[in-house]
Amino acid sequence: MEKRSGQGGPAFQEDEEMEEEDKAPDMEAWERAYADDRSWESLIEDESGLLKAGDDVQQQRQHRRRLIQASGPRIQRGIIRYLCLILDFSRAAGEIDFRPSRMAVVAKAVEDFVREYFDQNPLSQLGIIVMKNGIASVVTELSGSPEAHIRALKSNLESFGEASLQNGLELAHTYVQHIPSYGHREVVIVFSALSTCDPGNILETVKKCKAARMKCSVVGLTAEIYICKHISQETGGSYAVAMNEGHLKEILLEHVPPPAAMPDASSASLVRMGFPQRGSEGAVAICACHKELRIGGGYICPRCRARVCELPTECSLCGLALVSSAHLARSYHHLFPIPTFDELLVDASLRGKSSFAGSCFGCRIQLSGGGSLRLRCPRCKRDFCFDCDVYIHESLHNCPGCETLQEEAVT
């Protein structure tokens, strides 16, 4: 042990200085963090007395930046997806830095994700795996019904033990192995832990996943973890870490639009599909998916006449992919996205020239007053407000300006 008794000099001085330092009145650390920030000063009160946080236009730009980043050139996309969702319900998921707990927040975000996923990818399937207590277990098999997934997930909410990424990936690997070659194999891992306790070498498993053309993406809840980054980089997936609850949902929803097709998987092939008829109301049949007698409803496979309950699915008798034409149509827009609109900076010379100088082509709101961006479609040169832009790109998937142009051309 070191001694510094005899060596009075430096140690002695320090004590004195220390006391001086302690006496000095000082702000608390948390106060100091906000002292420079002054976030309250950017609050604005509008005419009806509501408080608005900061600059509207700035927030709108922020929102659009994400849109612009997401939209690339027109590319081949895999619209028939088989996605395996691996959720981490280990001890770390019980932490309460997200309220009420990380697990609850994840469950809520996943619920939204599942609904949105099936809404935008009606031809695709999804399965859920949960990691807890060092093992990975199947919650739902790959299937097409959002409600079934959400129900199963909700009955499975408890967290304990360690997380093992290797077990999770291995399970997903066996899962995904026997899906048809035209399907896109994806894994999305929602990871709250900071470490993984594996039975073997995870790097081997990553190689195996890569060989099986599984695209593994990771959504982290706490911090950047090397192995997660490694997994996503190796397999061509993405990696993002959530800042807060809202951001978590946002990055999870980024996995909703179909991803770009992998280069080696792009050999064009025809996929045999059936478009089943809806069974008549009073018909009684043994359901092929539930193996029991059902009355009414359901769809009838055009090839083997088996009855299935839900679309889209795979006929359990003859293995034909069963879809409805509406599903195909809904997937279609991903392949031909409408272009992102350009932001016009408002300047005086532009006013008056344009035919719809002051108003949005969609909702006729005045654009000149500020409070909204002015956005122009590069094809039809019509201006839109921010809200209409969001509606057109995220829900409508058609540009009203371009559609009227076509109509005019016809007439």
Partner: protein
């Protein structure tokens, strides 16, 4: 890119340059113009090396009168890195101005251990044995004997070099140690001797500090360097220690025993020679009368170590009569060893100046000071005369002669301390006689005097005004650069209180307090649950680390830590620690996460970088003050106070803060480097390394400690990161890690980089 700084065209191999790199170049150029020395501090990993190289080589191109650039590094690894950078630069210069103008010869020089390609000798493990093995095959008398007797083995590579290599210079280019070995194998030339010869012709020489600072080595290697050289000491923050070590000698019991054995053996050889070849001994005697202690022009392979004394202090006189005869000299040595043995056999600590030591020596044992001065040269001459090739066996007697010569030569700046046992383990007798140099300026003075410009640079030279006083020189430029960060990727925190709001410190009266130990434990526990991948902890000493780990184990804290991360501990055993480090890295790679416990001044893990995910967080538990009861430290502090007016407290604090910083900063070595490499293409990937550091001791919060931090860290140390408690630190860490995990905006990072156009624009503006 190519740009002009005040009339000098600078070739820089990347498309972008950081602002601080540009500023660094400007300052460096001023110093070179003024032909003076300079002291520059720039953050670790900002691409100092390439900045230095590109400015100085461009300067050389513009001013052919400059002789060479001598670049000194601390380790072989750093040396290779420098040469790699230089190669990249050279390729770029060739592309820009054609290979005929950009012709440079650059090479690294290291010991035989790193350069030897002889199949048997290069397999030896220690440096000394490789040297000795080489000598056995290449000494002039061995080769002379081999000419007549074919049974005597020589080194074919050396013979090859001797035949052709010594006339044919190396073609221009950049040669790393590896390249030299490959080239040597191809041509059948010895790379070591080739390199040693070629440094006379080279434009850039990269080698170890020792080759300039240690008179034993520099006398041989760097003797013929011209005055018009530019000398760079990179990573020079502990240059004062290197200087001191170069002139210090420790003698222990085993050295003296070994020396006695050596002397006995010398006696045997002398008597054998007397019977067979008495003529040789007589010749040597005559030579010594003429005052040629060192043989006039020795053959390259024959001289292995020069005099340990600084060049200007070597006496150019005849060797005194009482040690001219071989047997007299050996008897003299025997008396000296006997005397030293008596001195070593003591129960109390003795501290003496060299003057009183030599006086008592001459009265008690009849060893006069004049003769002492010549001991080393006399031994050297004797070993040559006796044609001894196993120099590694004679190390002990060399150490003793080294000691005697230094004691005889210097009267100031040294002290002799005899300690009967280690203070920390008083029950184990381990007597040691230390001749310790107290004045770092002694060894470096010849370098400053001899060369036109000396550049001392590092990431941590703060407080920067202390260095000129420690090294006793007048730099023309002193500058500390800050860094422009693309984002706050550095998060230093000062933690003063534990989770129960009680202060934490490693102060002697607090360190064994269970409350402090528990608070430190809780801090670690909270942090391993918050920080991903690798965490590195530094403690002030091995004994403190052992103690605290023991208590943590008893408290159950260690078990809880293990639930989150695996624990690895540095020990004093080299192999064990290497193994631990390897497994630590593996645990970080595969996502299990790991903690590494290390010691701030630990020798074992020194020089290992914890970059990227291997060190997301570094915790420094306590302030690593030097062991203040150490006699050597006290002697040095006294000397510094008396000679340079540096207060003890100042020096101790500087030293403690600097060493904790150096430990902590090992994680940021690659902060920029990787990024710089990525700037080659058009796209800038700005995903830089990031990390946090926690200084866990209330004393760091004092202004006198905080001010000792380099400017570029102070600028990152925000007001709200001072005087934290554990829970606040955890909160900050969480936020920081989430923020750093976000992809960074390429637009922002671009603004910290300057392209060629930006620089031209800046040059156009008159008052930049």
């Amino acid at each position: 890119m190519k740009f002009v700084i005040e009339g000098l065209t600078v070739y820089f191999p990347y498309e972008f340059i950081y602002r601080e790199q540009y500023a660094y170049m400007v300052e460096l150029k001023h110093a070179l113009d003024a032909r003076g020395h300079c002291l520059l501090e720039m953050p670790t990993g900002t691409g100092k090396t390439i900045t230095l190289l590109s400015l100085i080589t461009s300067y050389q191109l513009a001013n052919p009168s400059l002789a060479k650039l001598i670049y000194c590094t601390r380790t072989v690894h750093e040396m290779e890195k420098v040469l790699d950078e230089l190669r990249r630069l050279h390729l770029y210069q060739e592309k820009e101005i054609g290979s005929s103008r950009a012709k440079i010869l650059a090479l690294g020089l290291s010991s035989r251990k790193n350069l030897c390609i002889h199949p048997v000798v290069s397999g030896e493990t220690s440096r000394e044995s490789v040297d000795a093995g080489c000598r056995k095959l290449t000494a002039s008398w061995v080769r002379a004997a081999a000419e007549t007797n074919l049974d005597i083995e020589t080194c074919s590579f050396y013979q090859g070099y001797e035949k052709q290599g010594s006339e044919q210079p190396l073609p221009p280019g950049v040669y790393t140690l590896h390249d030299l070995r490959v080239y040597g194998r191809q041509r059948g030339w010895c790379p070591y001797f080739l390199a040693r010869q070629m440094i006379q012709f080279a434009n850039v020489v990269v080698y170890n500090y020792q080759y300039l600072l240690d008179p034993k080595v520099s006398g041989i290697i760097s003797k013929e360097m011209q005055k018009e050289c530019i000398v760079v000491f990179d990573e020079a923050h502990n240059i004062d220690n290197v200087c001191i070590e170069a002139l210090s000698v420790n003698l222990r019991q085993n050295n003296l025993d070994g020396a006695s054995r050596n002397i006995h053996k010398l006696n045997q050889i002398i008597s054998r020679f007397k019977e067979t070849d008495a003529n040789r001994l007589r010749q040597e005697y005559n030579r010594l009368v003429e005052g040629l202690a060192q043989q006039g022009n020795l053959h390259g392979s024959d001289n292995w170590l020069a005099n340990p004394v600084l060049p200007e202090d070597i006496l150019r006189e005849a060797v005194p009569g009482n040690i001219r005869r071989a047997e007299h000299f050996v008897a003299f040595l025997q008396r000296a060893v006997q005397y030293l043995r008596e001195r070593l056999d003591t129960d109390t600590v003795v501290k003496e100046g060299p003057v009183s030591f030599t006086t008592t020596m001459s009265t008690a044992a009849g060893l006069d000071q004049k003769a002492l001065k010549f001991c080393y040269d006399r031994l050297h001459s004797l070993l040559l005369t006796l044609e001894v090739t196993e120099i590694d066996e004679f190390l002990h007697v060399q150490t003793v002669c080294n000691f005697l010569t230094l004691v005889g030569t210097y009267t100031r700046g040294f002290s002799i301390i005899i300690e009967p046992y280690d203070e920390r383990m008083p029950h184990i007798p381990d007597p040691v006689l230390q001749l310790s140099c107290l004045d770092a300026s002694l060894a470096i003075k010849p370098v400053f005097d001899r060369f036109q410009s000396v550049v001392i640079t590092s990431g941590t030279l703060s407080p920067i005004d202390l260095y000129p006083r420690l090294l006793n020189f007048n730099p023309v430029i002193i500058h500390s650069f800050t860094m422009t960060l693309t984002r706050d990727c550095l998060c230093p925190m000062i933690l003063a209180r534990g989770s129960d709001q009680l202060p934490v410190s490693s102060k002697f009266d607090m360190r064994s307090d269970p409350g402090v130990v528990r608070n430190y434990g809780r801090l670690l526990l909270e942090m391993v649950a918050t920080v991903p991948d690798g965490v590195v902890c530094f403690f002030v000493s091995y004994s403190y680390m052992d103690g605290i780990i023991n208590s943590w184990n008893e408290m159950g804290i260690l078990q809880e830590v293990m639930q989150h991360k695996l624990v690895f501990i540095e020990t004093q055993d080299y192999v064990e620690t290497t193994l631990a480090l390897e497994n630590f890295r593996q645990a970080c790679d595969c996502g299990r996460g790991a903690v590494f416990f290390s010691v701030a001044r630990g020798k074992v893990a020194e020089g290992i970088d914890f970059d990227r995910h291997y060190g997301r967080l570094v915790i420094m538990f306590g302030v690593p003050f030097q062991y203040t009861l150490s006699k050597i430290l006290n002697a040095r502090l006294e000397y510094l106070r008396d000679t340079f007016q540096i207060k003890e407290g100042d020096f101790l604090t500087f030293d403690a803060v600097a060493s904790s910083l150096r430990s902590v900063l090992r994680l940021f070595v690659y902060l920029y480097q990787r990024q710089a490499a990525q700037c080659v293409g058009r796209v800038i990937r700005s995903k830089a390394d990031y990390g946090m550091m926690i200084f866990a001791d209330k004393r760091y919060n004092l202004p006198n400690k905080r001010n000792k931090l380099p400017q570029w860290i102070q600028s990152q140390l925000r007001e709200e990161h001072l005087n934290l408690s554990t829970d606040m630190a955890v909160h900050i860490a969480r936020e920081f890690l989430r923020r750093m995990a976000q992809p960074s905006d390429p637009q922002v990072s671009k603004s910290t980089l300057l392209s060629q156009e930006d620089l031209e624009k800046m040059a156009a503006m008159p008052n930049f």
